[in-house]
């Protein structure tokens, strides 16, 4: 009795998790979006790929995601590697410095002025650099590096290997699963980011796909007489809006099988205290 009810409930919840998305996909391919899609068509997709705004924003997002992931992963793993050695003078101070940023921050406005003074404003760097290292990921990766036996590193050093060699030939290859997990973490974050873009970027040609997505869908409905957005919002048909969502989500769906496997691992790595 309980088992049956449990299975029914879980099935419903799982269905609810994916059904809206399936609905969006199916109506993006149909002529009229009613309850049941009527006729198969690719019109919506033809339209959005001919529209320059959308096409360009996709390229921006692809660029920011790929370059940004590289930068963030390299910065994070280099610092995590340094912090993984217990005998480094000043290590505990550095760790404290990192952890404190998880508890307290200067806030949106002072951060905005710092980004402005570094000259990143209105460049694509502003989407990659100001959030380059997640303190949380850094600490987890540090713990992971720490779990690699010292003997491996020490023996290489006794053989005369340079610190760089130890890092790139021994530690990095051993950490590939963890690095893959964090690479995906960062990539998803970069692809999905929205707020940084509207805060730091005013040049419409540099908008990433999430910003355009919001203009196409949400602004088209809501914001009656709202002063927050002055841009002209053209009206788009229902199926075009659906298609925009699909295209903006496809990269995530493509990596989802890998995500699911590694992410769960990444989260669990984090639950190991150290």
């Amino acid at each position: 009795m309980f088992d049956a009810a449990n299975i029914i409930f879980l099935s419903l919840f799982a269905l609810a998790a994916v059904l809206p998305f399936i609905y969006v996909i199916s109506s993006s391919f149909s002529v009229t979006a009613g309850l049941i899609p009527k006729k198969f068509t690719l019109e919506a997709y033809q339209y959005i790929f001919s529209a320059k705004t959308f096409y360009r924003s996709l390229l921006v997002s692809v660029y920011v995601t790929s370059v940004g992931t590289m930068i963030q992963l390299i910065l994070t793993s280099l610092m995590a590697y340094g912090l993984s050695y217990r005998h480094v003078p000043g290590r505990s101070m550095l760790l404290l410095m990192v952890v404190f940023t998880m508890l307290f921050s200067g806030g949106m406005i002072p951060t905005y002025f710092v980004v402005r003074s570094t000259g990143l404003l209105n460049t694509l760097w502003s989407l990659m650099i100001p959030n380059a290292i997640s303190a949380f990921n850094l600490i987890i990766l540090k713990n992971f590096f720490q779990s690699i036996p010292d003997e491996l590193k020490e023996s290489a050093k006794i053989d005369g290997a340079h610190e760089l060699v130890v890092l790139f030939r021994i530690v990095m290859p051993l950490s590939l699963p963890a690095l893959a997990a964090f690479g995906l973490f960062y990539a998803v974050g970069l692809w999905n980011q929205y707020f940084n873009a509207i805060m730091y970027i005013t040049d419409q040609t540099k908008y990433p796909v999430q910003v355009v997505l919001r203009q196409v869908i949400i602004l088209a409905y809501g914001n009656i007489g709202d002063s927050t957005d002055m841009e002209e919002v053209p009206y788009y048909g229902q199926s075009i809006r659906m298609a925009v969502i699909v295209v903006a989500t496809i990269p995530i769906m493509l990596v989802y099988p890998f995500l699911q496997k590694h992410f769960a691992k990444g989260v669990l790595l984090g639950s190991v205290k150290g």
């Binding site: 610092m79 200067g106 406005i109 951060t111 650099i129 890092l167 869908i217 009656i224 969502i245």
Partner: protein, 317 residues
């Protein structure tokens, strides 16, 4: 004199082998590796903390922190006397409390239910499906929500209309704002939130269940006396971590859901800071609002961590 210098010179190698400078020199490559990261934290995390001083100034961007005039606590006094202060406090606490009493227990229950499933394949399938929404951006989640709930041809309202009821304007009403917010949070993250609980549940010693069953414990007693105590510390740790984000929960989400018609119940500290600060240019005043929020957040984390420790739990920090 010369002799003494020579002596110290000679004593140096043995003496300095373990000095700080020497130890630092030995790991110079590690510092070199860490340098970009340290620079990142100093510039983008600590410099803004210094910049928070603008909350006590009449900050003018072109003269900077050094040239701006100091005004003491004026912005704070203004903020606390604004009627908006109470609105923001109420809205923020309300949504945060909903998150705590609805979303958080929901993930625990979901994990417990998943844990009861015997078929490994079925469990794996459900997990795979419920993790999906976590990876969608808030823009996509809110966008899908708009498409489904709009009165202009959204499925939900079409169904409501076809059943003969009046259409409900979910997206532009004060009444539906909070249910929509908490519903989206559950839809997006409840599945994902189960991961850590499931891992903790998998670690429970099966012998404990066996022993309890021999003593005649039924399903509920097993849950109450074996399962829940086993994952208690995980629950506490996650609760503390969530307290840390208590005030800046779902900022993007709320920002995206806000419109002129639900602002009264939807505006929270962060959206207010953005609107007043970056859009209206009241930099110092909004920095003061942000600082107030950060300090309260800090107190909440430290406080809940302290309470957890008092109750014999491990705590996070």
């Amino acid at each position: 004199m010369n002799q003494m210098e020579a002596q110290t010179e000679m004593a140096k190698p043995t003496k300095t082998r373990n000095t700080l400078a020497n130890r630092m020199w030995k790991v110079r490559w590690l510092y070199f590796f860490m340098a970009p990261g340290i620079a990142y934290f100093l510039i983008f995390k600590y410099y803004p903390m210094w910049g928070v001083l603008m909350a006590f100034q009449r900050y003018q961007p072109h003269v900077g922190l050094w040239g701006s005039q100091w005004v003491g606590l004026r912005h704070f006094r203004r903020f606390f006397s604004e009627p908006e202060f109470w609105m923001l406090l109420r809205n923020t606490l309300y949504i945060a409390a909903l998150d705590l009493v609805i979303y958080f227990p929901f993930t625990i229950i979901l994990a417990l239910l998943l844990n009861e499933v015997r078929s490994e394949i079925y469990k794996r399938t459900v997990q795979t499906l419920v993790y999906v929404p976590h990876f969608l951006s808030w823009v996509v989640v809110v966008g899908i929500c708009y498409l489904l709930f709009t009165t202009e041809g959204g499925v939900i309202n079409e169904i409501i209309a076809s059943l003969g009821f009046e259409k409900i304007n979910f997206l532009m009403s004060e009444r539906w704002f909070r249910p929509m917010i908490i519903g989206q949070i559950i839809w997006k993250d409840a599945g994902w939130g189960t991961i850590i609980f499931l891992a903790a549940l998998a670690g429970v010693d099966p012998n404990l269940y066996e022993a309890a069953r021999i003593d005649g414990a039924n399903r509920w007693r097993l849950l109450w006396h074996v399962t829940l105590p086993a994952i208690r510390s995980v629950i506490v740790i996650l609760l503390i971590l969530r307290m840390g984000n208590f005030l800046d929960l779902g900022f993007e989400q709320i920002f995206l859901m806000l419109n002129a018609l639900n602002r009264e119940v939807g505006e929270v500290f962060d959206t207010y800071v953005y609107r007043v600060g970056l859009q209206q240019g009241q930099f110092s005043y909004s920095a003061a609002v942000g600082l107030f929020k950060s300090v309260v957040g800090l107190i909440l984390v430290i406080g809940s961590n302290w309470i957890a420790k008092r109750f014999g739990e491990e705590g996070v920090y």
